[in-house]
């Protein structure tokens, strides 16, 4: 059975403040994040200067808004066309239902080894844990994901999962896996991983992939990648299981072509991904490769509850990861401090919506933002993430937030009367005079303590120049 590997971060039992403090103290992490952010920024700026990015973004937003508005109809069409092409479609209401379907299928087919290509949806439903608990071996084949799996960590970034580890750390992880001595050379490490993972492709019974989007018009699943592992995972094993968040549908090939271009622009600063795998049903008669069975698992997991609400735009997301790189919070602490599969601004919006507002992460993450709006600027489908963050904040209801709200209500009530306003100002002025010395208050009691723990407060205007 599965032996649980140690998880470095996230330690989800530690409050967010602890996790971020730990991340901020990690100099190697800071250097890796800085390098990753800089290289993304340069590539993204170049691609935006070579293409009419603003117009492309407007069109992408129009496409995604329309798709999400018509989601029920498009999902039905996708399902019908996938079935017509010989695929099996299942709709899973939640993570448990999705995992159960896949582990039951694996058991029914006598599978032993599962090869996976990168998928955030499977991170979200914790599929690897479920597969290991059912007694099977599951191997991530995206290089970054594999390294993280071996290190017992979770992805830090939607697109570039292994960013927090440097070359030496990667070398240590790969040497521990194989027991071989490896040179400290990037190309040699990649070549080593290639050989090790080819053993997995050659013998896996089931390949599991994510889905960047389904094309309703023809029932086609799109899997976008750069390494080639997603093709091997979807072409070699006897069974292919594709796991898709229910909102990831586009209407037709004209829309698909547009999203396929803007996605790599936003994600990696390139105008095409290395490989896009377009899969319509299982292997056709007369073909000598491709899976004999194709299963599409469409996961709701809290998404349908957002349709028609003022948070619906969170479903427009195409998972490019641009808002992460652009976010000053994410660039400072990395994705693992968020403690959720989705990090950065979109993670701070999605996590509470998908996990429910009661959890600790849900009450903390929406506040991990300065609302600077750089995420909105970076988003290739123009999601107003800063607005969504505010709307999600408004729904958070822990005891602390209830107390805050009560205080603000009291304050607002008091200041809605001119007499009470004047009285409060007078009182504050007198209090400050009493608390201050030589024109400055250095330590205030009660609610003022938070302010003076960081800075002094002048007790008269204009302030006395500090000595």
């Amino acid at each position: 059975m599965s032996s649980r590997r140690p998880v470095v971060y996230p330690d989800t039992t530690a409050p967010l403040r602890e996790r971020t403090r730990e991340a901020l103290a990690d100099d190697a992490l800071a250097a890796n994040l800085r390098a990753a952010g800089a290289s993304w920024g340069a590539a993204r700026a170049r691609i935006a200067s070579e293409n009419p990015f603003a117009q492309m973004r407007d069109r992408a937003r129009e496409i995604r808004r329309g798709d999400v508005r018509d989601l029920p109809e498009l999902l039905d069409r996708l399902e019908e066309r996938v079935r017509a092409a010989g695929g099996v479609v299942t709709r899973a209401a939640d993570a448990d239902a999705a995992c159960r379907y896949i582990t039951d299928l694996a058991a029914a087919r006598g599978a032993r080894l599962v090869a996976k290509s990168k998928s955030m949806a499977t991170e979200e439903i914790k599929l690897n844990e479920a597969i290991e608990e059912s007694g099977l071996r599951v191997v991530e084949t995206d290089l970054g994901e594999w390294i993280l799996q071996l290190a017992g960590q979770h992805p830090s970034h939607i697109v570039a999962p292994a960013v927090p580890l440097n070359k030496e750390q990667v070398r240590q992880v790969l040497m521990a896996e194989s027991g071989w001595e490896l040179p400290s050379d990037r190309e040699a490490l990649v070549a080593h991983a290639r050989t090790r993972l080819r053993e997995v492709f050659a013998s896996a019974d089931i390949g599991i992939s994510g889905v960047n989007f389904g094309v309703a018009e023809t029932g086609t699943i799109c899997v976008v990648e750069n390494e080639g592992n997603a093709r091997l995972v979807t072409a070699l094993p006897r069974i292919h299981v594709a796991v898709m968040g229910m909102e990831r549908v586009v209407r037709d090939w004209d829309e698909a072509a547009h999203i396929l271009q803007i996605l790599p622009m936003a994600a990696i600063g390139d105008d095409a991904a290395g490989y896009v795998n377009l899969i319509t049903g299982p292997r056709a008669p007369g073909e000598a490769d491709g899976p004999e069975e194709l299963h599409l698992v469409i996961v709701d997991g809290g998404r349908s509850a957002l349709l028609g609400t003022d948070l619906e735009e969170a479903l427009d997301c195409i998972r490019c990861g641009a808002c992460l790189y652009s976010c000053p919070m994410w660039r400072s602490v990395g994705g693992q401090a968020y403690g959720s599969p989705y990090s950065g601004p979109i993670g701070s919006v999605l996590t509470p919506l998908l996990e429910g507002m009661e959890g600790e992460r849900s009450s903390e993450l929406p506040f991990m933002s300065s609302l600077c709006g750089s995420c909105h600027d970076a988003c290739p489908v123009g999601i107003p993430l800063h607005d969504l963050l505010v709307r999600v904040r408004a729904r958070v209801t822990t005891a602390a937030h209830r107390r805050d709200r009560a205080r603000f209500r009291l304050w607002s009530l008091a200041w809605s009367s001119p007499a009470a306003y004047r009285a409060s100002v007078l009182l504050a002025r007198m209090g400050l005079r009493l608390a201050g010395r030589r024109g400055w208050a250095r330590r205030l009691p009660g609610p003022g303590a938070e302010w003076t723990s960081q800075r002094d407060l002048p007790t008269r205007w204009p302030p006395t120049p500090p000595r």
């Binding site: 390098a35 290289s39 092409a85 995206d142 290089l143 970054g144 570039a160 999962p161 292994a162 960013v163 440097n166 070359k167 990037r186 490490l189 990649v190 991983a193 290639r194 050989t195 993972l197 080819r198 492709f201 050659a202 018009e217 023809t218 029932g219 086609t220 750069n226 390494e227 080639g228 592992n229 093709r231 091997l232 072409a235 070699l236 090939w253 004209d254 698909a256 072509a257 547009h258 396929l260 271009q261 990696i268 390139d270 105008d271 095409a272 290395g274 490989y275 896009v276 377009l278 899969i279 319509t280 049903g281 299982p282 292997r283 056709a284 007369g286 073909e287 000598a288 490769d289 491709g290």
Partner: protein, 196 residues
């Protein structure tokens, strides 16, 4: 070659070059020699070919067999009989080449549209160490939207798999520095056949 085809040919090669793929525009009579030269440069001992009339017409297979001593030719789907371990390079020759004939090419983005069928295995280019694509210039389209709409507009069942290939296999998962040959082909070379 018509002026617009020439521009499209240059376009696809320029876009591919930005992603570290290589290529050239050749005449039909030169294609076999160019394929042999490429196989020599990569040092491959075996080629896995799609079964396609374009390769027959250009005599790519016979060219490779004659041009390089001891060069082994496998043609899909018979080649599939070797089993995945050998096709993946875990057994047998270390360096291999997959030879494909894309259904279409996209000039604007530098993209090959590989369509699966009985003679066109979907894994040929990624199981091999290197990928050589033979693209008749008449199959070039300006935009991705044009190419995809055309690919899926036909009557009947859509192709079971279509692979868009725009680069050699690459990864940036170690220190964000792009490294070639992660899982698929380490090199991609495209021969655009001007008069086909």
């Amino acid at each position: 070659m018509a002026a617009d085809t020439a521009a499209l040919s240059e376009g696809i090669l320029a876009a591919l070059a930005r992603r570290r793929a290589t290529g050239a525009v050749v005449r039909a009579s030169e294609a076999a020699a160019a394929a042999v030269a490429r196989a020599g440069e990569w040092g491959v001992a075996r080629s896995l070919l799609v079964d396609d009339p374009v390769l027959d017409e250009l005599a790519i297979g016979p060219g490779l067999a004659l041009g390089a001593d001891g060069h082994e030719l496998l043609v899909w789907p018979d080649g599939r009989g070797r089993g995945w371990r050998e096709l993946l390079g875990l057994e047998g020759p270390e360096r291999t080449m997959g030879v494909t004939v894309p259904r279409l090419g996209v000039a604007e983005r530098g993209t090959l549209v590989l369509e699966t069928g009985p003679g066109h295995g979907r894994s040929i280019d990624v199981v091999s160490t290197y990928h050589l694509a033979i693209l008749p210039a008449s199959r070039l389209r300006a935009t991705l939207a044009e190419a995809l709409v055309e690919t899926y507009a036909r009557d009947g069942r859509a192709p079971s798999a279509v692979s868009l290939v725009s680069a050699p296999s690459r990864t940036s998962d170690i220190e964000k520095i792009s490294t070639l040959g992660a899982h698929g082909a380490k090199g991609l070379h495209v021969l655009v056949v001007a008069d086909r």
